[in-house]
């Protein structure tokens, strides 16, 4: 009965993989409800840590900064990323292939490299502003936002381009043929059809911004600590159940955003089924 054996073996392996992936998540969630101060020891069910999450001023201010950074950087990156996607997908110009490759580079650049780049860039450019105008600028929320916009543009444009590629271009020609100006054709045909891609890209950008530690840490200054960076700082002083609770909240938010992003991107393929 090789068949039975193989099936059992594969089933076992699959179970192991899922155990490996989700046991830590499960542990995290379980111990975030544990009343014992020592992480890893069950001390009975409590919501104390979530209460503290709501009450802790440091956590709350970090959360507020995280949300500010995420929302602003997502809005800007979504607009710029969508425009970049439209330019690369709809126009032919010199050096298009190079721009194409350059736009995707931030996706594969290691976070640390990106972070060091940002640090250098901000140090250098803030110095430049200082010498030229005399304004003494410091790294803060603004620099964090700029760095998040920088990496999010790439992700947004990848998602939007995938949607644009799937869109039948004769639809835009049909709009033009039906007396639509370029703007009207975009507003009434292209935009509604790629909107799921834009929303998907935006939700992805929101997630990435909320989760980022490495780049944020290098780009931030005093008073611009985001939630993940704050948690990372806490861990160095030892893991407390509060961290578990914060992590669970962040996990839940991320999962929710990614699921929403996928739902948005999956919604009806544009202009495909018309000829069938």
């Amino acid at each position: 009965m090789i068949r039975g054996w193989t099936a059992r073996l594969l089933g076992g392996a699959t179970g192991l993989v899922y155990l490996f992936l989700y046991a830590p998540v499960l542990l995290l969630v379980v111990f975030s409800f544990s009343a014992d101060r020592n992480v890893g020891r069950w001390g009975g069910f409590t919501l104390e840590w979530y209460r503290e999450f709501g009450a802790n001023e440091n956590v709350q201010s970090a959360l507020a900064i995280s949300l500010q950074v995420a929302i602003v950087s997502t809005l800007v990156a979504t607009v710029l990323g969508t425009l970049a996607a439209l330019a690369l997908e709809r126009f032919r110009f010199r050096g298009k292939k190079v721009f194409d490759a350059l736009l995707y580079l931030p996706i594969i650049i290691p976070d640390v490299t990106m972070a060091v780049m940002m640090l250098l860039f901000f140090t250098w450019s803030l110095d430049l502003v200082d010498t030229v105008t005399g304004f003494q600028l410091r790294k803060g929320i603004a620099t964090v936002v700029v760095s998040h916009i920088a990496f999010n543009i790439s992700f947004v444009s990848v998602v939007v381009r995938a949607r644009l590629e799937g869109m039948d271009q004769t639809l835009e020609q049909a709009a033009a043929d039906l007396y639509a100006s370029r703007w009207q054709a975009f507003r009434h045909v292209t935009l509604p059809l790629i909107l799921p891609g834009i929303v998907g890209g935006a939700l992805l950008a929101l997630t990435l911004s909320l989760d980022d530690v490495v780049i944020t840490q290098f780009a931030s200054g005093p008073g611009s600590t985001t939630l993940p960076v704050y948690v990372f700082g806490l861990i160095r002083r030892g893991v407390t159940p509060l961290i578990n609770a914060v992590s669970v909240v962040m996990l839940a938010a991320s999962v929710l955003l990614v699921v929403l992003s996928l739902i948005a991107q999956r919604s009806r393929e544009p202009g495909r089924a018309t000829t069938e």
Partner: protein, 357 residues
């Protein structure tokens, strides 16, 4: 008659490729005009230039006397039915049809009235709220027609309008399109690679090949008097008998026989082909043919039964001919190996320039 569309020396180049080469064409108002040719001949590019989706590299293009060469598509009094229909998938049928009127900022009440009229015209009443994907191919085609016609264009352009439909539906739509064109009285220009479609629907046909407009004429003219071997070969089937012009109205065939033929004003010595349609070839038992006509002796090589006709491949020592004989009770049948004589009426043939192509 006023010209609805007039092209003068219109040329389109894509990089080094000449897609449309120096085309002169005048399409009359109210005409049902077909641009016919094999794929890649430039017919679709010509249509797209009239629509404004491609701009000419050279030449002049007027619509009802107005130069439109450099105008974008949204500034031209023409509408297009696209090959894949290009219906907006996110809009209902009603909104698809209303699109052009809304873009032109037509008053709301009038939009509603005209959209209802157009939907009625193409017999899609009751489908207003559906999305394009919920319709069959034939229904989508009607929506595309209504969406274009609702704007009352001066010229309606149709790019292979029937290519995406299956055979039965296609034949039905041929009749409908023709009836529709008579009803609305708008100039229709349609592109097709299907010669039967062009012959049966169009008032006039323009045959294109290799970026050039080769011949323009009524379907009968194009079929009976093709100007070139390419046209004769593309429209229907044809045999070509090589020869040279001997004198006015006489051609010496490659086997030495002299036959009367409409040589037009070709000089003696010009190399020509005599085009002879398979259904115009008369086949008789050897020596049963009339005496006073051009005739050739040959042998039946093969016979193919098509139901409504028999197609014979006939062998001669210098060429092969295809003959198509209608399947009538009175029609004699032949078998491979039969010795036969072939003849044709003098007005059954056309003379085209010989050699290649």
């Amino acid at each position: 008659m006023a010209s609805a569309v007039e092209l003068k020396g219109v040329t389109k180049r894509f990089g080094d490729v000449v897609a449309v080469d120096d085309v002169d064409l005048s399409i009359a108002d109210g005409e049902f005009f077909a641009l016919l040719g094999p794929s890649g001949c430039g017919k679709t590019t010509t249509l797209r230039m009239i629509a404004g989706l491609d701009l000419p590299s050279a030449g002049s293009l007027t619509i009802h006397g107005e130069e439109v060469g450099p105008l974008p598509p949204n500034k031209r009094p023409v509408n297009t039915v696209f090959q894949n229909y290009a219906l907006f998938p996110h809009l209902s049928i009603e909104d698809n049809v209303a699109f052009g009127l809304k873009m032109q900022k037509v008053a709301k009440g009038e939009v509603g009235r005209r959209v209802a009229e157009a939907i009625e015209l193409v017999q899609l009443g009751g489908m207003e709220r559906r999305k394009p994907t919920q319709l069959s191919g034939g229904q989508q085609q009607r929506v595309a027609l209504a969406r274009a016609l609702v704007n009352r264009p001066k010229v309606l352009l149709l790019d292979e309008p029937l290519a995406a439909l299956d055979l039965k539906l296609r034949q039905g739509m041929q009749n409908e399109l023709k009836a529709l064109q008579r009803e609305v009285g708008i100039t229709f220009v349609f592109v097709t690679h299907d010669q039967e479609e062009a012959l049966s629907m169009a008032d006039r046909i323009g045959v294109m090949g290799d970026a050039k407009l080769l011949q323009v004429g009524r379907p009968e003219e194009i079929y009976e008097q093709p100007v070139s071997r390419f046209v004769a070969d593309f429209i229907g089937r044809s045999n070509f008998l090589p020869g040279t012009v001997a004198a006015a109205s006489t051609v010496t065939l490659a086997n030495g026989a002299s036959i009367p033929a409409p040589t037009a004003d070709r000089a003696a010595g010009t190399v020509v082909d005599v085009s002879l349609r398979p259904e115009r070839v008369r086949v008789e038992q050897r020596d049963a043919a009339p005496d006073d006509v051009a005739r050739l002796d040959g042998v039946v090589r093969s016979a193919t039964f098509l139901g409504n006709a028999m197609v014979y491949s006939l062998g001669f020592d210098w060429l092969e001919l295809e003959a198509r004989l209608e399947n009538r009770p009175s029609q004699q049948r032949f078998s491979p190996g039969d010795e036969i004589t072939v003849w044709w009426r003098e007005d059954a043939i056309a003379v085209v320039d010989g050699g290649s192509g």
